[in-house]
């Protein structure tokens, strides 16, 4: 049963250095007097009482093993062994589940997101709707069905390759394809609050890094007809010195802390899952009817929500941005890109 080990001890010293093992090697090298090398120790071992070379069988131990093997299975021992194996198995399954959540769902979602993007591109290139049909503006131009992609979200601060097709609805099934648009909230560029939910861990994790966005970072939404540029609102601690501080950044041109009804809308906030007011047309004021707000005081906002902290559902991280610019797509130059996409 130990033939392999026996071969090792016999053959290795000869083959490896071509010398016979010395029965009592003299210490060599500067560490030799402190710590004999393994082979030296092994060669010297037989000289020490009570020690054997690895692989050499102790006749008594062999007898014991044989005795244990021959004995009928001890039920307690068997039960403990099986219990141990089951516990280890459960631990492995939990680890596999973590791997599934963090990695495997990414792959599955990436395939679904690709399909959704391909469908959206087909839809856009079909040209069912002629560009800039005046009777088709604003209220009529977005009519996505549940789970249907209708826009693409770019966040240049996350890299030039960060783009996700946004789908209509926020059910689990839709969110595993990509960021989902809260139904009944505004559509891109419209007055109101274009609100989108996205996963932070796994499932493509589109909103993994929302905590890293700074005020004035661009959130670019591509629709069939236009490119809509939003910019993250000032963070609460930046509001006080905005005009002389962060607000002097060229990117912040036109981005100012909102006043009036919007005074309490920050760039980023952490809320409880029940605080659905963050996606209200006037965030924080779900009781307010948007129709009652004079049109000249209505703001066009974007709101992104995800879970917080990471791997938890205790709270929600919410990011608010304000409409900055809209570039209508030029049918003569369909590949034109807004300069904001190049912002790092």
């Amino acid at each position: 049963m130990n033939s392999g080990a026996d071969d090792d001890t016999v053959v290795l010293p000869v083959v490896r250095d071509g010398r016979q093992p010395q029965p009592h090697p003299r210490p060599r090298g500067r560490h030799a007097h402190r710590k004999p090398s393994r082979r030296a120790a092994r060669s010297a071992a037989p000289a020490l009482p009570g020690l054997r070379r690895p692989g050499e069988e102790d006749p008594e131990a062999t007898d014991v093993i044989t005795a244990v093997r021959a004995a009928p299975a001890d039920p307690v021992r068997t039960a403990l062994g099986v219990t141990g194996e089951l516990l280890i198995t459960m631990g492995v399954v939990v680890l596999l589940f973590v791997a599934y959540e963090v990695y495997v769902t990414d792959w599955l979602s990436a395939a679904k997101q690709d399909d959704a993007t391909a469908a959206l591109d087909r839809n856009w290139s079909d040209g069912e709707i002629t560009a800039a049909d005046p009777g088709n503006q604003r209220t009529e131009k977005f009519r996505p069905g549940d789970g249907e992609g209708f826009a693409k979200l770019y966040v240049p601060a996350f890299g030039s390759d960060f783009v996700f097709t946004v789908l209509e609805g926020t059910t689990d099934r839709i969110l595993e394809i990509g960021p989902g648009h809260y139904k009944d909230t505004a559509f891109p560029g419209e007055p109101g609050n274009f609100s989108v939910a996205g996963h932070r861990v796994g499932k493509g994790a589109p909103f993994n890094d929302l905590d890293l966005l700074r005020s004035c970072d661009a959130l670019v939404v591509e629709t069939r007809e236009s490119w809509v540029i939003y910019r993250v609102l000032p963070m609460p601690d930046e509001v006080a010195g905005w005009a002389t501080g962060r607000g002097t950044d060229p990117r912040c041109a036109g981005v100012n802390p909102l006043g009036g009804r919007y005074a309490k809308v920050p760039g980023r906030e952490i809320v409880l899952p029940s605080q659905s007011g963050v996606i209200a047309p006037v965030p924080g004021h779900p009781e307010l009817s948007f129709d009652a707000v004079p049109p000249e005081e209505q703001a066009a906002l974007i709101t992104l929500t995800t879970c917080h902290p990471r791997f938890s559902a205790a709270k929600r991280m919410v990011l608010h941005g304000v409409f900055a610019k809209e570039y209508p797509k030029d049918p003569a130059n369909p590949d034109a890109r807004p300069p904001e996409l190049a912002e790092g």
Partner: protein, 51 residues
Amino acid sequence: MYAWIWRNLPGPFATKLTVALLMVAAVLALLFFVVFPWAETRLPFNDVTAS
């Protein structure tokens, strides 16, 4: 338990190994395509909406 399964697999070593790997693959597929998708809907950390 696993030793018992191994002992009860038929055939020579190569066959045993193949069957064992197939069994592992089957269990993994069951976990990844049936059990985990079912389990994650019951766990809260995928909630990203405010409502």
